[in-house]
Amino acid sequence: MAFDYDKYIRPGKLPHIWCPGCGHGIVMKGLIRAMDSLNMKKEETAIVSGIGCASRLPGYMDCCTLHTAHGRAAAFATGVKMAKPEMNVILVGGDGDGTAIGGNHFIHACRRNIDMTYIIMNNYIYGMTGGQFSPCTPTGAKASTTPYGNPDPGFDIAKLAIGAGATFVARGTAYHATQIDKLIAEAIQHKGFSVVEILDDCPTTYGRRNKYRSVVEMMNRLKEVAVPVKAAEKMTAEQLEGKVLTGVLHKVEQPEYCEQYAKVLQRAQAAK
Amino acid sequence: MAGRYEIRFSGAGGQGLILAGVIMAEAASIYDGIQAVQSQSYGPEARGGASKSEVIISDGPIDYPKVTKCDALLALTQEACDKYSHDLKEGGVLLIDSDLVLREPPGNFKVTKFNITNTAKNEVGREIVTNIVALGAMVALTGVVTKESAEKAVLSRVPEAFIDLNKKAFQLGYEKAMAAKG
């Protein structure tokens, strides 16, 4: 029997705004399968986003959904989670939203290790505003604001998250659709701040400027560059050139923020 | 007392002058049952630089919270004395540290001076209580709050372990000012 996505989708809110060939819908379906596998209650789950194409995802989900200001998802979500630690809090957004304007909130959410899951759909571009380069756009790539090629080096989101203190970091791609739900489910189950980067595509504003002739070509690129962490262990540096590791990249146990704050409450009340 | 009495504690940032002002105001408003407002002004630096703490004491409501014509001024440093003595009224009380303020401002004031900082350092044993020595002296010289209330206010503001130290500082300041006043 086919999986019933409708039970997590808000009635009447589809079709979505995403372009044909965009991978965001694949990620949303992965999120739904992950939530279903964990039996997550919709009314006890908050999905929080910033601004951008990926940030429209919460509107389609039949949960407590918060579509905030550009880059601010992690900060809004921190308020929700801290005020109500028993809620599941999931953040979704794109690479520009999360690592440029939202970079500060992102690294501090990682540092606090607050128990939330952040799904970053990295399509290397600001799609909604028409294809300007983001901090994740590869050097040399064309964007509407890099007509002569991008001079900037890009961020490695996973390394950024690990460096900032996130205790669970994974990476998947929109091509490897069946892996997405497993990575997200493991991230949600992890106690602490978890980051799942999904390499995605934007045929409309990135593909056509960078000589990808079709969505299939973009998807094939994702297939080709991805190397599972296990497989990478057996590969040489030469073989790994130009590849991107996928799977669970980092997983450690550290005190979680809301639990730490619960101890503050205990200490304050004991001293009263 | 009748009407408004305006006191300014001045010195260098870090000398505890704000606290001295707060204690004086608490003595009036919490323990003596009259009105008081305390305010302060300081530069961006929390330590060093001239700093002032102002206390207005009155038997009626206090509208303007700042000094208009200063009735009593404490100056622990030369810089503070130069900067904050301009509006001390004729016949006003001026208390200065005799080791640190060598140029007195021109004017007709009731000047009292003794080695405030060194009293704290050498006779009480801790320089950190300079503000409480100065407070004891200001209580003696102004007479606008009772000695008992001021002592109570001091003790309510200091940690248990430092009560004796502060009691001694307050008492020495009070006595030395009375003696120096002549």
Binding site: A69, G79, N104, V264 | S39
Partner: protein, 377 residues
């Protein structure tokens, strides 16, 4: 039993007012001269089961505040000029999404870093026009430590009652000065709670105007699922660009304050009945003004004080009435004419408005006001 009395700083009183009102969440970022508010909240909130978080920046603090409010908590942040500029993005978000929150902004010199420890009253326009787009604004400007406590309680009441951000703006002098405060007993000052939904979750709409201009607000995690967005939205909370809906919603969000001005506005008239010259002032400047008015009366000048307690909404109608009886208004303020301009704008040229402006980090003193009274002929 005698009431609890303390000698407190204004900022500390604001924090205690918030606690009295039932505040259970604070998010902030350190900034002079407001930090004492955060310090008291960090110590006191955990004792009553509340939460305190110091965020990575002012923007994040405002964001976390709104997130926490959406779970049903009463929330507070505190800041000062440069922080207020940063918070404006999400203050706008709280306006359009209609999420209650209270912002204590202690006014210091500006623009930019300005004079961090110097007093000012130059953020009152920022309270109304700081965030982009049309929206209502409520700004309270208390003048004493006791009033800062009480107006903070009232700010929470207004925020919850009208589902919107409310600003409390003491100037640095009021924020930092210490006075005796008498703590009201629980129940002595009214505390208003948020109106939650009266329908089951499947029928709930977060902007259901069948309840009037202020729709009930459910809490995340209480069984109600709904969508919140900074886009223009429909009654069910989902985005729309339909002209008639956007127009009606924008108008409603301004109307909910305009139509309830009488409930929100507060001012004090002192010796205004027969006054020929009225000083319009707020915050610490109103204390100088009252001192000056008393002095003037002793000298036979018929002076009065019109003390603003809300700056927004501004009591335009009452000042227009008074303008018909006076020879002139005097508007002392620690800025370059913000209140003066508003007074001029509402009195239809009936009387001259003479401003006294100080932006040098010093308060307007009573002598300056007395001197200005001589210019009113």
């Amino acid at each position: 039993m005698a009431k609890k009395v303390a000698f407190l700083q204004g900022n500390e009183a604001a924090a205690h007012g918030a606690l009295y009102a039932g505040c259970k969440f604070f998010a902030g970022y350190p900034i002079t001269p407001s930090t004492e508010v955060a310090e008291v909240m960090s110590a006191e909130l955990p004792k009553v089961g509340g939460k305190f978080i110091q965020m990575e920046d002012e923007i994040g603090a405002m964001a976390a505040l709104i997130g926490a409010s959406l779970t049903g908590l009463k929330v507070l942040t505190s800041t000062s000029g440069p922080g207020l500029s940063l918070k404006q993005e999400n203050i706008g978000y709280a306006c359009i999404t209609e999420v209650p929150c209270v912002i204590v902004n202690v006014m210091r010199g500006g623009p930019s870093t300005g004079m961090p420890t110097g007093p000012s009253q130059s953020d009152v326009m920022c309270a109304k026009w700081g965030t982009h787009g049309d929206h209502a604004a409520i700004c309270l400007v208390p003048a004493s430590v006791q009033e800062l406590f009480e107006e903070t309680v009232r700010a929470f009441n207004i925020a919850e009652k009208y589902r919107m951000p409310v600003m409390v703006m003491p100037d640095e002098i009021v924020g930092h000065m210490r006075e005796r405060i008498v703590f009201p007993e629980p129940g002595e000052i009214e505390v208003i709670e948020r109106t939650g939904p009266s329908v089951p979750p499947e029928q709930y709409k977060p902007y259901d105007t069948s309840y009037g201009d202020v729709p009930p607000l459910a809490a995340f995690g209480s069984g109600y699922k709904f969508h919140v967005t900074g886009l223009n939205k429909m009654q069910d909370g989902f985005p729309t660009t339909k002209a008639e809906i956007v127009q009606a919603e924008e108008e409603r969000q301004v109307r909910k304050v305009e139509a309830n001005k009488a409930d929100i506005m507060k001012w004090e008239e002192y010796l205004c009945d027969d006054a020929e010259v009225i000083v319009v002032a707020f915050g610490s400047t109103s204390r100088s003004a009252r001192f000056a008015v008393d002095e003037a009366r002793k000298n036979g000048i018929k002076a009065g004080l019109f003390r603003l307690i809300t700056f927004w909404p501004f009591p335009e109608e009452r000042l227009l009435e008074l303008s018909k009886q006076v020879k002139g208004f005097i508007t002392p303020e620690m800025n370059l004419g913000m209140c003066t301009g508003v007074v001029k704008g509402c009195i239809e040229g009936n009387a001259p408005v003479l401003g006294i402006f100080r932006v040098d980090g010093e308060p307007v003193n009573p002598g300056q006001i007395l001197d200005k009274m001589k210019e009113v002929k």
